[in-house]
Amino acid sequence: MKRPATNGPTATLPTEVGSFIERIVRSTRLRRSERDDVRAELTSHFAEAIAKGATVSAAMASYGDPKESARALRAAAIAKRSPVDRALCSALRGAAWTVGVVVGCYVLFGLYLAIMPPRLGFDPIKRLGERLPAAASGKDSAWVRYRSILPALGLTEHADASNQETDRIDAGPGWVGRDPDTEEGATWDQQVAWCDAHAAPLNRLRETAAVPVFGFPYVDGLSDADGTVFTEGTIASSRRLIDDTTQLFRAFGVMLPHLANMRQSARVLALDATVQASRGHGGAAVDDLAAIIAMSMQVQQPRFLICDLVAVAMRSVAVQRATMLLESMPDAFTDADLARLQAAMRSVPAELAMLDLWGERIAFEDAVQCMYSDDGNGDGYFNPTASGFSLLQRIDAGGYAGSSDVPAGQRFVVIAAGPAAALWVAGRKDLMDFHDAWSEELLARKAWTLRELQDAPPTTTDAPLRSGDWVMKSRYLLAALLLPAIDRANMTFAADRAQREAVDVAAACVRYRIAHGAWPRDAAHLVPAFLPAEPMDPWSGKPIAMAGEGKEFRVWSVGDDLIDQDGRIGGPGASPTATTRPKSRGDVGALPAACDWVWFAPNGSVDRWF
């Protein structure tokens, strides 16, 4: 139906009538074409009324209530629409309401999150300190002594001549007649001279290793007094970490700058042990080796995994050097020296020879409190601030470094996406339960042998995080980013235990030879005089194998392949069939996959150690 073209209702009517009609038309909230229909109809109506003599006010009064009219007109106009049109409109209206309600809830949830930001409920650094042994006074703290000894040995962060010289000594051959490891490395004679020149600080180093409390200032932060070992930058970073309690992930940032120095100290002591043994001073060599073991236990205060791994690496230096010296110059050692060496190898308490994860839990819990709201009952939503989210991105990219300034655009995105992320990402309690299940599964294996660990299936709790399961990875974002892949950590500890037992057995064999003039025929002969119990092969579970006379004598484990190759060590031109390490694969790439792990082979050669 063709509607008359109008220039608006006021074109032919008095202004007040035009306004009256417009008010009704606007109130109908109909579509444009429907409004035009209504406008035309009412314009015609009032034009007729006025043309027939009605006054403007009478015409408007007799028309009735404009609001009521608009409502009725709207209902009638909608009724005129097609059923499909009405259904579509109804659906759209429903959808709009739904969207509105959802958006409203989303905004309200966003406001809730805004007023419930992450709250730091505990100080991770203080908690770290709660389990650290405390020194009664400064002189009871090993670190106070180390910080004056390490500079004397050139074992500091400073790039001075003393350090460079120690690095050169460290890169030396470690044995008479061998070439240095690098072009810059010192000769054997220079290494010997260095050890002699540093006899006093080396002695103090050995004495300090026996101090039970390590006393490194993890909780108080480095002070100016530590400037003898560390640079100003390291000290300033440490101070910032301690002083600024608003920093995120402080436990992850705990400064462990001493680990490199302590590890190098172990190598220097191992060199001195070689020098002393080469002079026939087995007792002094044992002092050095025992000091390394003792220092490794100091490093394990506190129980952070990185500290554990460095400690195990230090012990590995000691056990490998001990075996090398026992094989190459067994006559340098007296029975008493060897008994002391055995005691040193057994001195590591069981708890320090196993995975712990205590520090990791503090660090993880700290990360969670920095990223989650807290409902007071141990639960909460994933609710990082913009700077917290930025930190997560930096961690995902491979480190904590980088600017913490967050661009305004990114800040907006974090706020806008916050409620969605909070609903999607696992809640605080759920995440901590996941962490605890993960650590429990790992700790359940902490006392397993090499064989048991080798045969064990991979851990299952964290398997989805290591796979391509993006749903789990995104829901357990913090776990995916922060939990270390430490499937192999238990194997590292098991190897540490086995390696120290190997030295224990090697020392027992030498003691047996001192006592009986010949090597033992089997392990049972070592019990009880030289060993408390018959040593077992950690791979096969059977008594450790030993055979041979004189320089052919050898003690061996069948290794991870379980193939007994008679503990033979390849001579010149022959393929090597043995390794000095508990596991042949992975960490000894040059060796064949299948080979025995030879514990002790006193054939006079040190080739297999270099």
Binding site: L42, A47, L73
Partner: protein, 116 residues
């Protein structure tokens, strides 16, 4: 003359409009006037009520409309459709039966005064 209240008019109004259009097409204001004049004001409904009613009747297909711009003022004329005629016939019968029933009850008479 008093008008009839809204509830009564809601049922009677559409029938009255259909009846008026039985004679020929009419425009909105003309219907307003006719309702007032021909029912002696009894069925004079608020003008604001008439147009929604016309829309409803149109949407049900009982009446049809057209615009006429040949006169001094544009007018929208409504006419009865075939459906509208059938509806009017049915409603007329219903109203007749109702009237008879009311009369049998003594509720209807020739003058209101007689009801008193």
């Amino acid at each position: 003359m008093a008008t009839i209240d809204g509830e009564f008019l809601r049922g009677a109004g559409p029938v009255a409009v259909l009846k008026l259009l039985e004679r020929g097409e009419m425009y909105g204001y003309e219907l307003v006037e006719a309702l007032e004049r021909r029912t002696d004001g009894i069925l004079a409904m608020g003008q604001s009520t008439l147009y929604p009613m016309l829309y409803n009747l149109e949407s049900k297909g009982f009446i049809a409309a057209r615009w006429d711009e040949s006169g001094a003022r544009p007018r929208k004329y409504y006419r009865l459709t075939a459906d509208g005629k059938r509806r009017l016939a049915a409603d007329a019968k219903s109203w007749h039966r109702l009237t008879v029933a009311m009369e049998a009850l003594g509720l209807t008479s020739s003058t209101p005064e007689a009801m008193a």
